[in-house]
């Protein structure tokens, strides 16, 4: 069998070569773990390769013995069966040797786990919050925080019958509107949590993923060795948008990072004052359209029809055409027990005002209502 299965492997290689040959445009043909850019990721990579080669070694011995028996001890060659059926010494040997091999693996694995567990003395702490279906990053003690959403170009190309070739989209499904920016060489501590269901934050270049559990906090750390852009995505099934929760991490040298942080602080201050003024209906509609496409359309669909039985339609719905207070309440506080989240903490006053104005004035909903950011601010109290 082993001999035959190596024939299978040859076929497999031929098929691999032909598929690869037919698609020369894609140079990136990865098949192994990356070694990554942190001490932890290097350690994981080394352990992975050690375990791999040990397995290869065992496979060569065991499958080799099988192959030998298949070739030499076959009836068609006149083999006469021996009748032995036990050998205590041999059985003890092949119980003890695997055990020793396991010790060889367990020692570095234990060391690596202990190193990973040590989140003390961090220079910077980032809170990572997963929710359906985007990430939020908060720079604790810096007053900076933002959502990181999948690039709309990827979402458009992904749709059935979109007519857009995913290969034509840069970093298809691995691009976001605002990446997580981190300094190089600093010990960064991550705190993970979620607001709705369980997500998992996975950046292979950092060497791990950690689950983000609603109501609980888990942690990890990283010291990134070189500047660059590192990509990953949510790795815990979290609903229909699971494939659309990419993570982009930009690591930069400290001076650039400091400049970036200062710029973010200024931007957030400016956004806070925007909520104070009166907005026109057109401004709010445009803002709402953008927010709707980014946040709401995944469930309620771009045409507002929802998915019958799963996500209710907004077009002509009693809430989107009824009293404004009810609409505000549903968007801000969600509906417990369903996928409808409380967006009060996730969206700004302007964004909530915009999306409600949009929903009340698009598709067949022609209420003519305008909801101002100030009303949202009032509703928060």
């Amino acid at each position: 069998m082993t001999g035959k299965s190596s024939r299978g492997f040859c076929l497999f290689s031929v098929a691999a070569a032909s598929v690869a040959g037919s698609a020369p445009a894609v140079a990136d043909y990865a098949f192994n773990l990356p070694s990554g850019v942190t001490p932890i990721s290097h350690e994981a990579y080394r352990l992975h390769m050690l375990a791999f080669w040990i397995c290869v070694g065992i496979a060569v011995v065991v499958f080799g013995a099988m192959l030998w028996a298949i070739v030499h001890h076959r009836k068609s060659r006149g083999a006469v069966p021996a009748q032995f059926h036990e050998n205590t010494r041999l059985e003890i040997v092949w119980t003890v040797i695997p055990f020793l091999v396991l010790v060889v693996l367990a020692v570095p694995a234990t060391r690596a786990l202990m190193a990973m567990d040590d989140t003390k003395d961090a220079d910077l702490t980032i809170k990572v919050t997963g929710q359906q279906w985007r990430w939020r990053y908060d720079y604790l003690n810096e007053g900076v925080g933002f959502f990181s959403n999948v690039d709309p170009k990827s979402v458009d190309a992904s749709k059935r019958g979109s007519g857009i070739d995913p290969a034509s989209v840069d970093n298809y499904l691995r691009e976001v509107d605002q990446p997580l920016v981190l300094p190089v060489g600093k010990k960064i501590r991550f705190l993970f949590t979620a607001t709705d269901v369980i997500h998992a934050w996975w950046v292979p270049a950092l060497g791990y993923q950690v689950d983000a559990n609603p109501g609980f906090i888990s942690e990890s750390w990283a010291r990134i060795e070189q500047p660059g852009t590192y990509r990953g995505q949510c790795s815990e099934l979290c609903g229909v948008g699971h494939a659309y929760m990419p993570i982009v991490l930009v690591a930069m040298n400290e001076p650039e990072f400091d400049a970036w942080l200062a710029q973010q602080k200024a931007l957030q201050a400016k956004a806070a004052t925007a909520a104070e003024r009166m907005w026109t209906k057109d401004e709010l509609y445009a803002k709402g359209q953008e927010v709707y496409g980014r946040i709401c359309a995944a469930c309620h669909q771009p045409n507002g029809q929802g998915i019958p039985g799963v996500f209710p339609a907004l077009n002509g719905s009693p809430i989107a055409t009824g009293p404004i207070a009810g609409h505000l309440n549903r968007v801000m506080n969600g509906k417990p027990g369903t996928a409808m989240q409380a967006f009060a903490t996730q969206l700004s006053d302007v964004e909530i005002a915009g999306v409600i104005t949009y929903e009340r004035n698009t598709w067949g909903n022609k209420t003519g209502d305008v909801v101002q950011p100030a009303q949202v601010k009032q509703a928060r109290k």
Binding site: M1, V19, I70, V240, I307
Partner: protein
Amino acid sequence: MAEIALHGTEHGHPSGITRWLFSTNHKDIGTLYLLFSLTMFFVGGTFAMVIRAELFKPGLQFVDALTFNQMTTMHALVMIFGAVMPAFVGLANWMIPLMIGAPDMALPRLNNWSFWILPFAFTLLLSTLFMPGGGPAGGWTMYPPLFLQTGMAFPFVIFAIHLMGISSVMGAINVITTVFNMRAPGMVFRKLPMFVWTWLITAFLLIAAMPVLAGAVTMLLTDKYFGTSFFNAAGGGDPVMFQHVFWFFGHPEVYIMILPAFGIVSQIVPTFARKPLFGYTSMIYAVGAIAILSFIVWGHHMFTVGMPLAGELFFMYSTILIAVPTGVKVFNWVATMWRGSLTFETPMLWALSFIVLFSIGGFSGLMLGLAPVDFQYQDTYFVVAHFHYVLVTGAVFAIVGGIHYWLPKWTGRMYDERLGKLHFWLSVISVNLLFFPQHFLGLAGMPRRVADYAVQYTEWNMMSSIGGFIFGASQLLFLYNVIRTIRGSGAKASDQVWEGAHGLEWTLPSPPPYHSFTTAPEVK
């Protein structure tokens, strides 16, 4: 004994639909289980074909993400509870009484009930696909809070799982009772065929594990409808606790699906090596050790939930320890072949490919057991490759091998050997094309359970899908071969069927009489 013999002749051979509906005959119920399993194998396989078609290239072509998630969830539920587990129960029903010299299972009416629950359970489960909002889409692991977002399908899925659990537990009770009470005189425990031993231990695992699953899903049910907060942090619960409870069931479940496969392979290899099984006693100890370890390793499914260091270390050590007894089994099979007189009929081909490919699944299992690297492997296609190597080329290959091995005994006819070999070679090549590239996908960064993926994963996915389509289509050959054998085509099978076969089942005529061993045989 004379009384039983009289009973057997009195009833004769029932016919028509009532033969199957009211059957208390272990052979008929075994056949029902196997046909049910075969049906579910094709239903679950259809779901797999949808998955592989959608993943053939990036972008969504055939289904939306919601349907895709329903397909992955249903594929797993149907294959685990509908195909693999009933297939083993079917084999147990057919073979355990024949192997231990019993006239039937110990509890024949319970046996009827265990089977007939299943069609209802799966009608409930599959009907959810046609409900508003569709079937369950939160993964077969049913993790809350996501699974609590399931719509109308939710209570149906929970109830279906309860039914499957009841069916499994009753089947397990029957196996234990039969093995303990119905052995022929002289059939002492240290003479039990390895298939019976592995099933006996599996039955204890089933009784210990299935009620835990029932508890877990009941807590989901009350969380959704009755205001409890077992898994809701806002009410003082913990979503991670579900994972602990689920995997306390889930890991023994993994061995429930592989231990009887070990038993089948341990029957086939000695037959075609014409040499007794090497290390019979150590095989039993190994199965026992694996069964016990299976209850203390569940945490390795959850290394990334944010466990304390001590927990990570405990589950890592206990997990990689399983490699020792598993290694013993593989070494014993190779030693059984060593200096045998080997022939390569279809059952042997399946058994040999089982040993090689299951070992590959074992290797990736060892790698996954190393917690610091599992932080990279977890929830990727590397895991998907791993568990398909142990479940498809492990459990399913052993079942298919066992079917070819025993089909001549059951039907009195040989299957078509050329067709059997063709089916084997097509399957073994395509299954590797299907699952081997998935190791690469996972290592290169593709998570599992995604409906769409980044373009750098296109080539491996295309290969995997092509392998999947060939593998799926090849199984139609199997179906054809089984049907034509049942319908009486093929050469007449002798009582012993295989030159190297030993054991009570081979002393009976092929096919065995409707009531066999009505007088207990003497085992020397």
